[in-house]
Amino acid sequence: MAELRTEEFQVNMGPHHPSTHGVCRLVLTMDGEKVVAVEPVIGYLHRAIEKICENRTYPQCSPMMDRFEYVTAMSSDYVYALAVEKLAQLEVPERAEYLRVIMLELNRIASHLIFWGVTAMDIGAYTPFLYGLREREDIIDLFEMTCGQRLTYNYIRIGGVSRDIPKEFEPKCRAFIKKLRGKFSDYEGLLNENPIWLARTKGIGVLTPETAISYGASGPVLRASGIDYDLRRDDPYSIYDKFDFAIPTQKTGDCYDRFIQRLDEMKESLKIIEQALDGLPEGEIKAKVKPKFKPPEGEVYSRIESARGEMGAYVRSDGTTKPVRVKLRGSSYNHLALVPEICTDVLIADLVAIFATLDIIMPEVDR
């Protein structure tokens, strides 16, 4: 009798697989149920944002940034505005900085709520998705009330913010903080100790600190591996040095830790929003920017801690109204590079869990 032998074969996962969070194709080399190798194929969501910006004036680039990372569009608006402000050495009014911090942190919570729901749905629990998006709706309503849009805000501009918050914003925001604090016990009770959930996530896709650093991971992925690094504290921008907040970290860096990490971060973001609402000063919301805005010649790189990790913008100016080069850095790109590294010898279902907990979104990868 001939000996039983197995043969490796290739399977395409995506580009339109729902768990790839956008359009990403994963070419899997399988040995039976086991994934032997993963090769991500990117470029399906490429919109040439960086190139488009070269043909637009500085203020006109701002709506393009909304499309760069549309889950936390406030962050991508901000990182570009920060770069141009550095370049032109603009003084931003204090009230604008406070408003920016409130919006950035609200957007971080909104993004983590999506993460919480979508990760649960990818792994097989449907209920959290509905709860997460329900609470996110309140944040989106706050944004819509302030800037008029629900996803592509175009709120944080060069020199400040586009509009002041309406009167009803503060009470609604405080009510939301109170409401979300009450929801955390529900969130934690739903999955954190669920035996099926633990079996699906504990010890799966372990990312060691060394690998994380060598691949340039940042944000919650890095902190879940136990490295205490957050740009809000370690390279303070805006007025983050005025607030008192902790940086949660986890120990092992498996899927479960990355999941818990975001829940912890939401609580800290709520603290920052509360402090910012308490200290919100009166005053101007936008520095004076000339209609024909021309920053001086030079180049600058700005970086912030977005919901996914380090987000950066490199802007080079030749002294005209249009930037010569805009380069955007999205942390999802680095995190996608981690997938082949940590997805060896796992099941397809585990691959989905790893992909989901890295919180990769494709617009940030392809730009």
Partner: protein
């Protein structure tokens, strides 16, 4: 963890979901029910009309066209014998519009607004291009704060003041140099040079205007 712990933890999650069983639905059944949009909501671009005369507030200054990052606004104007600008074409391509709100902010004459309306689905892409009549008609019932009203009394004593609104009795008013002084055409989304397009006799400000156009508007339509 023993089997009993497992079952208890499973039931705990189920219990939390069970709490929501009696809650009423939060879904809004569109189109039977509609959400009330917030006042600042950025929807369709509309042209506003004067609350008393019903005429367009637009002065054809083209600031919105130059602010638009996707070249969705197309304006064609001509000058009469008194060098006053008149609007020939004002088109908004809703298929190109990215609802960023920069045109609304650029407008100094309360002429253009992003209304809270959001329904403009059509059967063809061509129908998404709205001309001035359609834009005005949709904007008729849009409420707005008229920021021109404060400026209005000022120009009356001075005949050569900067025109703030298209008023028929002010045909002898001279346009100020900062008003665009050419028979101008929209920023060409196809990406060809804007220099060739100015074909009328050039006025002194023309050179400057061309410079600005080259730098200002987007020169390609790829969005």
């Amino acid at each position: 963890m023993g089997l009993i712990d497992h079952i208890r933890n499973l039931l705990k999650g189920l219990g939390i979901a069970g709490k929501h069983l009696g809650r009423h639905a939060i879904t809004i059944q569109y189109p039977e029910e509609r959400m009330e949009m917030p006042e600042r909501s950025r929807g369709i671009v509309v042209l506003l009309s004067d609350k008393e005369t019903g005429e367009l507030n637009c002065t054809a200054c083209e600031l919105c066209m130059r602010a638009c990052p996707t070249a969705a606004i197309k304006i064609v104007t001509h000058r009469d014998e008194n060098k006053k600008k008149h609007l020939d074409v004002f088109e908004v391509d809703n298929g190109l519009c990215c609802f960023c709100g920069l045109c609304e902010e650029a407008c100094n004459f309360s002429a253009l607004k992003m209304a809270t309306k959001y329904e403009f689905s059509t059967l063809g892409a061509d129908e998404l291009v709205w001309d001035v009549n359609k834009l005005q008609e949709v904007g008729r019932d849009v409420d707005y704060v008229d920021t021109r009203k404060k400026k209005k009394p000022k120009p009356e004593p001075k005949a050569d003041a900067k025109p703030t609104a298209p008023k028929p009795e002010k045909t002898d008013a001279k346009p100020k140099p900062e008003q665009p002084a050419t028979v101008s055409e929209p920023v060409n989304p196809a990406g060809s040079s804007t220099e060739e397009k100015v074909n009328e006799e050039p006025l002194p400000e023309e050179q400057e205007r061309k410079e600005e156009k080259k730098e200002g508007g987007p020169t390609d339509g790829s969005v």
